[in-house]
């Protein structure tokens, strides 16, 4: 479904700040895979996400989705296949527009936008039904401006907007990190439900080790621009946090340093 072949990316080439962001990364996701990604600061997790969504283009190597070579397509042309939720709850929605207008824009993902109305009564019914699945009462507030919602509500809405058109790839970039524990837990639960129900091929960056082990059917660990550990479903079930950290230190030769890493919640 998603393939990265020998992907490399260098930041600030030739300058004193030159930094390897990704080096010779290979990754192959099967349809329906739910992969959690962990790693220390600057390991290349976000670059990996940006490489798939098209915000960044690889210096070498290729990115393929469902067989299409997409390495050189800009972000707006990849959105047909890729849904994304950002860490910042403000990033995934338009604050001065209403909930239904935001959903209408998400609904037209990757399609040519023409002069038909964004919110029709038929679509509105569908939006209401989708919102009710979140179970947080947004279905009764279709005409509320998104800027009036709380961070948790906005992130739940972002998640719905990223997924309800069933993209081939779902990218979750620490999407619960900016929320307080209770709201993070709710958004995590919604993520689990939606991903398993729609069988979305998902890549989720997290700094919550416990979450990385608990969710999904595969776990990859990154360090210094490489994937240093790839844990399959079976092994992952018996994985503990201590073993994961031990494994990281053994392979990378240094301590897992992420000032935000959370061992559990």
């Amino acid at each position: 479904m998603l393939q990265l072949n020998h992907v490399s990316k260098l930041f600030h080439p030739g300058s004193p700040d030159e930094k390897i962001a990704l080096i010779d990364v290979n990754l192959d996701l099967r349809p329906g895979d739910f992969v959690t990604v962990i790693g220390s600061n600057g390991a290349g997790k976000s670059t990996l996400m940006n490489m798939i969504s098209g915000v960044l283009k690889p210096d070498a190597g290729e990115v393929r989705i469902g067989g299409h070579e997409i390495s050189h397509l800009p972000e707006y042309r990849r959105s047909k296949w890729v849904g994304r939720v950002f860490q910042d709850p403000m990033a995934g929605t338009a604050p001065h527009m209403t909930i239904e207008e935001n959903l209408a824009m998400a609904y037209s993902r990757g399609k040519t936008r023409g002069l038909s109305f964004g919110v029709t009564s038929k679509r509105r019914g569908m939006f209401r039904e989708q919102l009710s699945r979140l179970g947080i009462g947004l279905e009764g507030r279709l005409k509320a401006k998104v800027g009036t919602l709380s961070g948790g509500e906005r992130q739940a809405l972002s998640l719905l907007m990223a997924t309800f058109t069933e993209p081939q790839i779902l990218l979750l970039d620490e999407h619960t990190a900016a929320l307080d524990p209770a709201r993070a837990e709710l958004v995590t639960r919604l993520t689990q439900n939606i991903v398993s129900e729609l069988k979305l091929t998902t890549l989720m960056v997290t700094h919550n080790m416990e979450q990385a082990i608990r969710l999904g059917n595969r776990l990859i660990m990154m360090d210094a621009g490489r994937i240093i550990l790839d844990v399959d479903d079976e092994t992952k079930r018996d994985l503990t946090m201590e073993r994961l950290i031990g494994e990281f230190e053994r392979i990378s030769g240094h301590k897992l340093s992420d000032d935000r890493v959370v061992l559990g919640s």
């Binding site: 969504s53 800009p74 972000e75 707006y76 042309r77 959105s79 047909k80 994304r84 950002f86 403000m90 990033a91 995934g92 929605t93 338009a94 604050p95 001065h96 527009m97 207008e101 209408a104 824009m105 998400a106 037209s108 993902r109 990757g110 399609k111 936008r113 023409g114 002069l115 038909s116 109305f117 964004g118 919110v119 947080i136 709380s150 948790g152 509500e153 739940a156 907007m161 709201r183 709710l186």
Partner: protein
């Protein structure tokens, strides 16, 4: 007095189209577009040259709109493809348009007295409300389409709408184009109503547009697109009424008008934000006092 007020209403409606254009760039795209000062004159210039050349005033007006659309699109291209700062793209285009307008007109002033204009058969006070209502309704409808939503999101959260597959360069160019098309339409109609086109007629137009949009919002509110466009139109009329009243004051000269306009815009920009800051502060103080007086209450609010 009544004649003056009717005159203010008439010019308010004529300039309302320009205010709607400024609303699109300033409020929707969040792009301060100074092209307006040039494209307003372009509209008048094209209409005047064509009408005095014997063209139908309606076709001349349409051609003026096309000229504005192109001018706006060029500003958009400078900003998006040329990666030039938005404010500077507009200024560059405004300066360039001065020479272009001079080329179009051939001389600094073209008289339309005795020519056949759109207002010959229908009085401005009858024709203008019809045109303004049509433009306002069409704009409202457009802003509710898939494309219109993408345009609004471009000004609201560019990163978000890109992740949903909109090429924001295109929406910015489109918005600037429509905006300057409306500005040129306003310029073309004003030239016909006043009986001349002048090379300097667009100077300070952007500030008048901003004043109309801001005054309208302050008085009539802008909760939805419908009210925001209505506010731009009414703001334009209120602005002309204020100007008419100001000119009745003895010690004010007509040339003081631009200063008055600038002062109105400054007041309208400063007062709401100062009021908001003050409200926030007093609310924060009240809330913290509440919290202190109720120590066992953990947190108010909660939920999701």
């Amino acid at each position: 007095m009544t004649t003056q007020m009717l005159g203010a209403l008439e010019s308010g409606l004529l300039y309302a189209l320009m205010a709607l254009g400024v609303y699109i760039t300033f409020r929707i795209l969040d792009f301060p577009d100074l092209t307006v000062d040039g494209s307003f004159t372009t509209g008048g210039a094209i209409a005047a040259v064509m009408i005095s050349g014997g063209s139908s005033p309606w076709i001349a007006t349409l051609a003026a709109v096309l000229g504005g659309l192109v001018a706006g699109a060029v500003t958009g291209l400078l900003h998006t493809k040329g990666k030039i700062n938005g404010l500077l793209s507009g200024i560059l285009m405004m300066i360039a348009l001065y020479s272009i307008n001079m080329r179009i007109m051939g001389k600094p002033n073209i008289s339309l007295l005795g020519e056949n204009t759109v207002f010959n058969s229908i009085a401005p006070l009858i024709l203008m409300p019809i045109i303004v209502v049509i433009v306002k309704v069409l704009l409202d409808l457009f802003l509710r389409t898939d494309l219109g939503l993408a345009l609004r999101a471009t000004g609201d959260n560019q990163r978000m709408i890109r992740s949903f597959g909109t090429h924001t360069d295109n929406t910015i160019i489109l918005g600037l184009s429509i905006s300057n098309g409306l500005v040129a339409l306003s310029g073309a109609l004003i030239a016909q109503q006043s009986g001349f086109a002048d090379i300097s007629s667009g100077i300070g137009m952007i500030v008048i547009g901003l004043a109309s949009v801001i005054i309208g919002e302050a008085i009539f509110g802008a909760r939805t697109v419908f009210f925001a466009t209505l506010a731009a139109v009414l703001g334009s009329i209120v602005y002309r009424v204020v100007v008419a009243l100001a000119l009745r004051i003895d010690w004010l000269e007509p040339t003081d008008l631009k200063l008055i306009t600038a002062v109105i815009v400054v007041i309208a920009l400063v007062v709401p934000s100062a009021r908001r800051t003050w409200k926030q502060k007093s609310l924060a103080r009240i809330r913290s006092e509440e919290m202190i007086s109720m120590p066992d209450r953990k947190q108010v609010g909660g939920g999701l």
